[in-house]
């Protein structure tokens, strides 16, 4: 009945595999031997109660935390340790649970900043802002304007993002991540603090990104409606351990998940 169920089955090769990853901070075990994989083109949800280690998992994936044990394989390459900017170069982009925008910049500049990686004219052309530097700037500006149109935020193009309401900030953050044209997009609670209408908008963006550009998405979200509707597969964490993994319907029915996370069945 749910379209996700049909689609999830026929997913392609594995884009990212997490094997036995553990992460400790002093005495706190944020993650314990977690393994799962993300296949190319799917929307993979990560859910779990507060403090279960979801954000930490994303941090491990893009190199902000270094797992104490275990391996992470991305695009066939296995690594123990990676620096965040390498992950970004490798095609991993993300949004953050606590909005981490560049507060004083305008929406436009924030998203442009997301394209820093793709821009490479040298310092001296930059100094004069002519020739290749200007051509590059204009070309990327076009891409950014497309993103702005796509996210329906043209009216705040020039507003410093620090003044935007929370919901729009989240949207800009998504735009910034999209600007990196990632292969794997990590979204940490992209819909927190939004009302229904905005959640609907956001869902649509996520789906469109996924379907039109084929971007693989890992999604953390506490709104079960969203998770169940959008994702192809769901992994559930609790106290740093994986307690379930499967299609939304499978997970929804899992008693351990109901017990640990959902409370009453939704």
């Amino acid at each position: 009945m749910s379209p996700s169920a049909q689609k999830g089955a026929g997913a392609g090769e594995v884009l990212l595999a997490v094997e036995n990853v553990s992460l400790r901070f002093g005495g706190v075990k944020a993650l314990t031997e977690v393994s799962f994989d993300i296949r190319k083109g799917e929307i993979r949800a990560i859910i779990g109660p507060n403090g279960a280690g979801k954000t930490s998992m994303l941090n491990c994936i893009n190199g902000f935390y270094h797992p104490s044990e275990g391996r992470i394989t991305f695009k066939g390459e296995t690594r123990r340790k990676m620096r965040p900017h390498e992950a970004a170069r490798g095609g991993i982009a993300r949004t953050f649970q606590n909005v981490a925008l560049f507060k004083s910049m305008s929406t436009l500049d924030n998203i442009m900043a997301g394209r820093s990686l793709k821009m490479n004219t040298g310092f001296f052309w930059q100094l004069f802002r002519h020739g290749p530097a200007m051509r590059e700037e204009v070309a990327h500006r076009k891409v950014v304007e497309d993103i702005i149109d796509f996210l329906q935020i043209p009216h705040i193009r020039r507003t410093p993002v620090g003044r935007l309401p929370y919901g729009l900030q989240k949207r800009v953050e998504l735009g910034r991540a999209l600007a990196m044209e990632p292969d794997l997009l990590l979204l940490d609670e992209p819909m927190a603090g939004m009302n229904l209408e905005e959640k609907e908008d956001m869902s649509r963006f996520i789906i469109e990104v996924n379907q039109q550009f084929g971007t693989t998405i890992a999604l953390i979200e506490h709104d079960m409606g969203v998770v169940m509707d959008l994702s192809d597969r769901v992994v559930v964490l609790e106290y740093g351990r994986k307690i379930a993994d499967g299609t939304p319907d499978q997970v929804k029915g899992d008693p351990r998940v109901i017990d640990a996370y959902l409370g009453v069945a939704h």
Binding site: N62, F64, P84, H85, A87, A88, R89, A93, R94, F96, A100, L101, F102, K103, S104, M105, D109, M112, A113, G114, S116, L117, M119, T121, F123, Q126, L127, F128, R129, A133, M134, E136, E137, V138, R141, K142, E145, R176, M180
Partner: protein, 361 residues
């Protein structure tokens, strides 16, 4: 009603990305530049020599520090020393190769301070905020010590000081005793305009965005693929370049000779004042800040005696100086209270009000 965005449509991204998107702004800028050049011929020597030249020199230094502290968010208290590196490098170069045009050396000397700045910027990867200030203070005191201790830097001058030998540009003296305030002013003005233009190109482009990104949220920037160390070092280098050039201009086109002492810690603080009062992360702000911090005390020195004398108050030079200190201090606090983001923000708000005028919002 004169100042409106309406009716000015941008048809290309390039024109939309111009510095001044409004026609009125462009006209205003042209008028200001024209006036600045006209001042060379209309202004008195006092105006040129004691007000405008130093103002421009400080503006340049403030732009330098603003790039580092305002744009890239790295607090530096070593500006004075970086200016010194530029001045000493320029001195060495222009005495070693007297036949090369001095303007070339002024511009080249900046590269030396850029290199030194980048070196002292290395700890910035690990050290942040006020803690980073210590690294730059180490630079300040260490370099100052070098200026005193390495006589080679001043060509073993007995006085231990920098002097300004005669140097000409197209046969007209620009450095040295016989250079007129007019020529010096025109040279400084032209350099400052050119360098400001370059700086504004930089900060509006990819590099500027990377700097601001690092300042606003360095962790997020790193996760987006921005190399923190490189970005910060670039900021240190560019910033020091500007400071270095400003230092060279200060010694050779303003003072015309100076001791190491002009590059002391107070100089660093002085520039920092300008940047903060003017507005962090704003090039216009650097000019505003320099104007306020440098010219306000001078103006007070002129105005205070006039104001106080009718009251029969004892107006000794030192009383005026004390009052000047107090007033400058109070005004700094007042300005910060009125607008913590500096004069640049006040300016912006003013323009915004003008855009909607006559309506309040």
């Amino acid at each position: 009603m004169l100042y409106r965005e309406a009716g000015q449509f941008k048809t290309t991204y390039a024109s939309d990305m111009a510095v001044f998107r409004l026609r009125e702004d462009r006209i205003g800028l042209a008028v200001i530049i024209a006036a600045a050049y006209a001042a060379a011929f209309l202004g008195s020597d006092f105006l040129l020599q004691a007000v405008l030249i130093p103002f421009l020199v400080f503006s340049l230094a403030a732009i330098g520090l603003n790039i580092l502290t305002g744009y890239a968010g790295q607090l530096s208290l070593g500006t004075g020393a970086f200016m010194g590196v530029g001045a000493y490098a320029c001195y060495k170069l222009m005495t070693a190769f007297p036949e090369v045009n001095v303007i070339v050396w002024v511009l080249v000397s900046g590269f030396f301070s850029a290199a030194v700045g980048a070196l002292f910027g290395l700890p910035s990867l690990r050290i942040k905020g006020f803690y980073l200030a210590v690294a730059t203070l180490a630079a300040q005191f260490f370099l100052q010590w070098c200026f005193i201790r390495v006589p080679w830097l001043v060509n073993y001058n007995v006085s231990g000081a920098l002097d300004a030998p005669l140097r000409t540009l197209f046969g007209i003296p620009v450095v040295g005793a016989t250079a007129t305030p007019q020529t010096r002013y025109l040279v400084v003005l032209t350099l400052v305009i050119a360098l400001t233009w370059l700086a504004s190109n930089l900060v509006r482009g990819r590099i500027g965005r990377m700097w601001i990104a690092v300042r606003d949220m360095d962790l997020a920037a790193e996760l987006m693929g921005i190399r923190l160390l490189q970005t910060k070092l670039l900021a240190f280098a560019v910033s020091s370049y500007y400071c270095g050039v400003a230092g060279a201009l200060m010694v050779f086109l303003w003072y015309g000779g100076a001791e190491y002492d002009v590059f002391n810690i107070n100089q660093s603080f002085f520039i920092l004042f300008m940047v903060i009062i003017g507005g962090l992360g704003s090039l216009v702000g650097s000019f505003f800040g320099a104007a306020l911090i440098f010219i306000m005390p001078i103006a007070l020195g002129v105005v205070l005696p006039v104001v106080l004398s009718p009251f029969g108050l004892s107006v000794g030079a030192e009383t005026i100086e004390h009052l000047r200190f107090m007033i400058v201090g109070a005004l700094i606090i007042l300005f910060l209270i009125v607008e913590p983001h500096g004069l640049a923000r006040l300016w912006q708000i003013g323009k915004q009000k003008l855009l909607v005028w006559p309506f309040p919002y």
